[in-house]
């Protein structure tokens, strides 16, 4: 899978074994039958040139419009209506009420706050750790491939499976793995799910576990792209390993770091499966105090539990606006970085 370029070039000129249009031109210039054939062929050729691009993008756009674009816009339409799950065709126009009520909806603000805090405590340690691990993996190591595969296995574990395991490890009583371990060092059993911060921490730990290795590999790929002479000249200047990391590695990785920040932020904004399955009985409220209810979970609760599809749509669009905002901020930051560089 790695030797791409050579492969491409040898495989490419495999055409032309029978399509001998140019040669035919010279030979059959005077033959009327060949002339007709040529005209037909060139007509077909022109037709092909003109329409084949559309044929190539058609399958994608067919599905894309039906299941991507249309629902996207229709969500906006539905958010302006009262729509109930039991009678989805029975829509009643309510204007912007579904949005305006979000402003005074404590559950919405609570979910927004939780999404934000869980996003921070899952993204920051995850990326910092990933950076450190990538740095270590960048050394010459025995069994480096083993390490790479091993730290990627959490990525193969689904949200649902991972959460079910973590729920058991974070059990309330002292037979939970984590409380038992804490007990060994003399800390009392923690009721992870019922505390505000503890629950958010536990939910974040699932995200951290699943994604740190993946991000480490992405950083590693970027580190391998850093030209070696940068390090060599730094070493000549007497820079220690740590100084090299700070002054060579980090600056070169800036675009990648920004990229992973964006992707992780988007992921964090949509966080859903972890908080849903972390609560007892997969209740969509995110704990008895809504202490770990995220926006994604609140949207689900409104739509498929409280059965208000219109209100749910309004939350979806608000989420989207927040993402656009994040995108704009990211764009501004990356411009700022480019200018300062």
């Amino acid at each position: 899978m790695t030797d791409i370029p050579s492969d491409t070039r040898t495989a490419a000129p495999s055409t032309g074994e029978e399509g001998a249009a140019p040669r035919a031109r010279a030979v059959a210039a005077l033959d009327p039958a060949a002339e007709r054939r040529r005209a037909r062929r060139s007509r077909r050729y022109r037709w092909d040139m003109k329409w084949s691009p559309y044929a190539l993008i058609a399958p994608f756009f067919l599905f894309f419009i039906a299941f991507g674009l249309f629902p996207l816009l229709y969500t906006g339409w539905a958010s302006l209506h009262r729509v109930e799950l039991g009678t989805p065709t029975d829509m009643e126009w309510v204007g912007l009420r579904n949005f305006s009520r979000l402003l005074e909806d404590d559950f919405f603000w609570n979910a927004l706050r939780n999404t934000f805090t869980i996003g921070i405590i899952s993204t920051v340690p995850q990326l910092v750790m990933a950076l450190g691990i990538a740095h270590l993996l960048h050394y010459r190591l025995r069994g480096s491939m083993f390490f790479r595969v091993a730290i990627l296995t959490p990525y193969a574990t689904s949200v649902a499976a991972a959460t079910l395991v973590f729920v058991l490890m974070f059990s309330r009583t002292d037979h939970g793995m984590i409380n038992w371990a804490l007990g060994l060092i003399g800390v009392d059993a923690v009721d992870w799910q019922n505390g505000d911060w503890t629950a958010q921490f536990a939910v974040s730990s699932i995200v951290i576990w699943r994604w740190t290795g993946y991000n480490a590999l992405i950083y590693l790929a970027a580190m391998q792209a850093i030209p070696n002479d940068l390090y060599e000249s730094a070493a000549l200047d007497g820079a220690s390993r740590w100084q090299q990391f700070r002054h060579v590695t980090i600056p070169s990785l800036r675009p990648t770091i920004l990229f992973t920040c964006v992707v992780s932020t988007i992921g964090a904004t949509q966080l859903f499966g972890e908080p849903l399955l972390f609560s007892q009985g997969a209740s969509p409220t995110g704990g008895s105090d809504h202490q770990f209810q995220t926006l994604g979970l609140y949207l689900y609760e409104q739509g498929w539990f409280n059965q208000h599809l219109g209100r749910s749509s309004a939350i979806a669009w608000t989420m989207f606006l927040i993402l656009v905002l994040i995108g704009l901020v990211n764009w501004a930051i990356s411009r700022w970085i480019r200018r300062s560089a």
Partner: protein, 283 residues
Amino acid sequence: MASLKKRGAGRQLHGGKVAYAVLILFTIGSLFPLVWTAIAASRNNTRLAETPPPFWFGGNLFKNLEIAWTDANMGTALINTLVVAGTITVGTVLFSTLAGFAFAKLRFRFRGLLLLLVIGTMMVPPQLSVVPLFMMVAEFGWTDQLQSVILPTLVSAFGVFFMRQYLIEALPTEVIEAARVDGASSLRLIWHVVFPAARPAMAVLGMLTFVMAWNDFFWPIIALTQGGEPTVQVALAGLGRGQIPDQSVIMAGALLGTLPLLIAFVLFGKQIVGGIMQGAVKG
């Protein structure tokens, strides 16, 4: 991509003991929850309520796997997920390659505009379309049938963008022109030029798509509500809701749902790691 080889040299420094120690710790942290899933799955519900928690295997593994397989519907779920993820992967890779090639190398009207549309919707969260999708699925009578989770995810804007970015570099325009001068039709061009050139990226996209489709959670639990035809994630969500309130069976279900991808990781670990790292450089 082409420069991967060159930069492969990277840094020559050897890792010290600390580096090994940290990496080994981190590896243990990554693997432990999975190993412990298997341990918990081999015990029974009562044992998991005792202190200290078990650290070695018990004798109930096969019994619990069997309960998970039948009562929690994991057997059906695994087959369904194979069908769903397989179809989605093939669809995404095929359609993305075709459209990506068109966007990368062909000229046609509205190309820029359409590409902008694709890129613009790439980051749109799935939450934004579930309500109408749900209404559509209900309207077509597709609830609880596999096409309700296959069709909406059959193409991906990211895939098109990914293939376009790759083909812009990997497929020299002269090669296409040469083929055109030789009178090759578009079909021949795609078959003999585009597919061979795109193959490495198709493999990466296919792998990413398969893992994503296998682990997809949000839309399936909405579309496959009745649980008669669950995917693995839907069946696991059912276990999380307390369908079988037995921790060892729940762990057996989690194990069954993870095992296929884990085996793939063990077999193709090197390729998958390589794929993700290449994908990262591209993305």
